[in-house]
């Protein structure tokens, strides 16, 4: 069929066709016939969300620009396109050469969080690929999962041929090259998987199963009987030297505006801090920097190659970059006000305010995440943030003429007591007074508060903690809402139903895949979208599969489902950090060492 001819007819019937056309400036369409390996890279959410994720685009450019292999992109189709595809039996296609997904050798999913799981299944299904790994045959693509969730993937394990744990730049190249040579020798699918386990970071879940002691107690995952040559523990990979690492300078210029419509440079990887609830703070250690001259050069080239008027200086807690001010001043000097700089995650301190102001003069708001309101609880989570610093930051924000501050807090953190939740109210009210006393803007100062339920994350010191029930979340958030009201404050919450699903599927074992599958079959899609989340599909699925979701919110004992994966920090270190949390002691996370 003439693929180009097919699309106008199709695309004229969907609400936002530029999600599916491809052809963006700097997108790469390679010769399909001559590429040794053809891979589809999928971000399982809408185009405009996916386009804001630089990780999967980094791999797209790395493979397309530096190897003979080919990578094309696909995003989750919205309901209207799904309906057309199903009705007309058209397989889901890639954006570049509009090839059906089942024609690719490999399909890679960027797994950022649990609420995209049903989209993953939908995409496989629409692409004509059997959902369960065990049902796939020799000609089906290999399904690979990467991104943070690949470090705790058990609830999705039966759908994947392999996961890649950690930063994938080097590992993906090794995987593609190995598959190329194995395919030329007509190696079977099963043997390819077996061979790939020799690449560090590769986890082939079908080669591991849960073992039990004679007393019937779970011992965790181990290689299946007879499979001796494979690693018992999978080490996550990281790039050692960021200075020499590949970074795309010809970045995608999307037609449909993404959530973050900008070019990006990456200041550093990992995070200096070790907030005890945060996966990012533990998964990508140690911190690795790019030098100032390299970032200056990359920034200029990227701006020239894309024509963007906004550049994001991205990293976790970007204000930890030692030369951030120099970089901002350099870019301001070179481009003046024709370039807007965005600093997406600034640490809460007065100096951050100054940086935000020089990077964007028009700025009227700032966002910070103190996470906990009482000094005690901030020590428990190792936020390394004093009350004095919080007040100084807010004062500075008001003095610099801004009139809106967005603050993030959590409820349900370990050791949380009633007075810690009350402390959010009193702190926010005090901050509001301080801000208005120092404000230079004509408009009254406004505070936007977002409250999220704490979700215990694997590989963090809090990986075994208890998670709040949905009801308790609503109660605490309801209390905060009754105390912090419009017009002075706006209080939003991260949907407790979503936090519940994230917690359950994040810490769940393989049997949970049945629930995800069943919810998908009932119609669950886009679970991260408030207007699309259908919690009753999940409720029914839990009942039908006879799985009690509440047990996953409890404190966890014994072997952990992600126990086969080693994230670079020892169990002892995590335990020590947990103990310190309960003693309300802080740690200097920059001293954490690899095992």
């Amino acid at each position: 069929m003439n693929n180009e001819g097919l699309t106008p007819r199709l695309l004229n019937r969907v609400s936002s066709p530029s999600r599916y056309t491809g052809g963006e400036f700097n997108s790469i369409k390679k010769n399909w016939e001559t590429a040794p390996i053809r891979m589809a890279m999928i971000y399982p959410d809408l185009y405009e969300i996916g386009m804001s994720n630089s990780g999967h685009l980094l791999l797209y450019y790395l493979i397309n620009e530096t190897t003979p292999h080919l990578i094309e992109r696909t995003y989750a189709p919205y309901f209207d396109l799904e309906e057309i595809l199903r009705k007309e039996k058209i397989p889901l296609f890639s954006l570049e050469s509009r090839q059906p997904l089942n024609k690719f050798d490999i399909i890679g999913f960027s797994l950022q969080y649990e609420l995209t799981f049903t989209n993953v299944l939908n995409i496989l299904d629409l692409g004509g690929i059997p959902l369960l790994q065990k049902d796939r045959s020799e000609n089906d693509p290999l399904i690979i999962g990467g991104g943070p969730v690949a470090s705790y993937p058990e609830s999705m394990a039966p759908f994947f041929d392999l996961f890649f744990v950690g930063e994938a730049e080097e590992g993906l190249l090794e995987i593609l090259n190995k598959i190329t040579s194995l395919k030329s020798k007509q190696t079977s699918r099963q043997d390819i998987l077996l061979e790939l386990t020799s690449i560090e970071g590769v986890y082939v879940p079908s080669l591991y199963e849960e073992k039990y002691s004679q007393e019937g107690v779970s011992l965790g995952l181990e290689p299946v009987n007879g499979c001796t040559g494979i690693p018992r523990i999978i080490n996550r990979r990281i790039i050692k030297d960021l200075e020499c690492a590949y970074f795309p300078l010809k970045q995608m210029v999307p037609f449909k505006a993404p959530v973050h419509d900008r070019a990006v440079v990456e200041l550093f990887r990992g995070c200096y801090r070790g907030c005890r609830f945060c996966l990012a703070g533990y998964l990508y250690r140690p911190v690795r920097f790019r030098s100032l001259p390299l970032l200056q050069e990359q920034s200029s080239k990227i701006i020239e190659n894309t024509g963007f008027d906004t550049l994001g200086l991205t990293s976790f807690n970007s204000s930890d970059y030692p030369n951030l001010k120099e970089l901002i001043l350099f870019l301001k000097k070179s481009y003046g006000d024709k370039l807007t700089l965005s600093l997406p995650s600034l640490g809460m301190r007065a100096s951050s305010v100054e940086l935000a102001c020089i990077s964007d003069k028009r700025r009227t708001n700032l966002t910070f995440a103190p996470e906990a309101a009482s000094e005690r609880l901030r020590k428990v989570i190792n936020k390394n943030l004093t009350e004095e610093e919080i007040f100084n930051t807010v004062k500075e924000t008001a003095k610099q003429g801004m009139d809106l501050l967005k603050l993030y807090f959590m409820v349900g953190l370990p050791t949380e007591r009633e007075e810690d939740v009350q402390a959010i109210v009193s702190l926010v009210k005090e901050l509001h007074k301080t801000a208005n006393a120092h404000r230079t803007s004509k408009r009254p100062f406004h505070l936007n508060i977002t409250v999220s339920p704490f979700i215990p994350k694997p590989h963090t010191p809090f990986e075994r903690e208890k998670q709040l029930s949905i009801k308790d979340c609503y109660e605490k958030i309801g209390y905060l809402k009754s105390q912090l009201r419009e017009p002075l404050f706006t209080l939003r919450e991260h949907d407790p139903l979503m936090s519940f699903l994230e917690g359950v599927f994040g810490r769940g074992g393989r049997n949970l895949h049945r629930v995800i599958l069943s919810a998908f079959r009932k119609g669950a899609r886009f679970d991260a979208w408030e207007e699309h989340l259908k919690i009753n599909y999940y409720q029914q699925a839990f009942v039908e599969e006879e799985i009690d979701p509440l047990s996953y919110l409890e404190e966890k004992e014994g072997p952990l489902p992600w126990g086969v994966i080693n994230c670079g920090l020892s169990a002892e270190l995590l335990k020590r950090e947990r103990d310190k949390a309960f003693r309300e002691e802080e740690s200097d996370a920059s001293l954490f060492t690899d095992i």
Binding site: N2, E4, G5, T7, P8, R9, L11, N12, P17, S18, T21, G22, G23, E24, F25, V253, F255, K256, A257, E304, N305, T306, G307, F308, D309, G336, D337, K338, T340, K361, R362
Partner: protein
């Protein structure tokens, strides 16, 4: 400051861009091209540019207009060769014109816009004739910003409407001095339906939207191409 009029084609997948998406894509193209664009003053300087009439999503075009100002005078050829290579796939610059200082700015004078439309089904001659025979055709329009909906007569903005025999499309284009475009004509071959030549008047007082014409004729437009755009005298 020297002013220029740029005329673009839009074909293939970029025909699915909305007006806003097209504006953004072309602005970024100009930034990449490094032509010495003039910027507006103030806190957030933007390139000084204006665009011709918006086109419906899904329509291709041979005449997308854009007017720009430069800080430095360049020849139209220089501009052409700076911009054309930095355009996204599907766009092509067909012409660059230097505009005289007293030439009115884009949007200040009426335009005649011609389209070829592909319409589902056959036997449209009757509904076209009955539409053309009336002096009025009122449509209900949403008022902008809290204003009430109001009736609007679209008939004066429909200058010409004619069914073209599929086999004679190329000859017809020749009679109005437009050469055929091998790619764009393929949609005629691939799809069933009736081809219509439609000429609309676009003025500061008003214009007719393609969707309004679709409703007025009670038809479904499958595809369309903007083939010509001239100053209305």
């Amino acid at each position: 400051m020297p002013r220029y009029l740029l005329i673009f084609n839009r074909k293939r997948s970029v025909r699915f861009l909305s007006h806003l998406e097209e504006v953004r894509a072309l602005e970024r193209t100009l930034r990449r091209s490094k032509i010495p664009l003039s910027y507006s003053q103030g806190f957030s300087p933007r390139p000084i540019m204006s665009f011709g009439p918006p086109i419906p999503v899904g329509f291709s075009s041979r005449v997308q207009l854009m007017e720009i100002k430069l800080d430095k005078q360049l020849t139209p050829e220089e501009i052409f060769f700076m911009i054309n290579p930095t355009l996204p796939y599907g766009y092509n610059l067909s012409e660059v014109k230097f505009l005289n200082e007293n030439y009115p700015s884009l949007g200040s004078f009426p335009l005649e816009i011609s389209y070829l439309l592909l319409i589902e089904g056959n036997g449209l001659k009757l509904s076209i004739n009955s539409f053309l025979s009336q002096p009025y055709y009122q449509v209900l329009r949403e008022g902008n910003r809290k204003k009430k909906e109001k009736l609007f007569n679209i008939r004066p903005f429909v200058l010409h409407l004619e069914v073209i025999n599929r086999a004679e499309v190329n000859d017809f284009l020749k009679t109005i001095n437009i050469s055929k475009d091998p790619y764009e004509i393929t949609w005629l071959m691939h799809n069933q339906g009736t081809v219509i030549f439609f000429q609309s008047l676009y003025t500061t007082e008003g214009s007719v939207k393609i969707t309004e014409l679709e409703k007025a004729l009670n038809v479904k437009i499958i595809d369309g191409e903007r083939i010509n755009l001239t100053r209305h005298r």
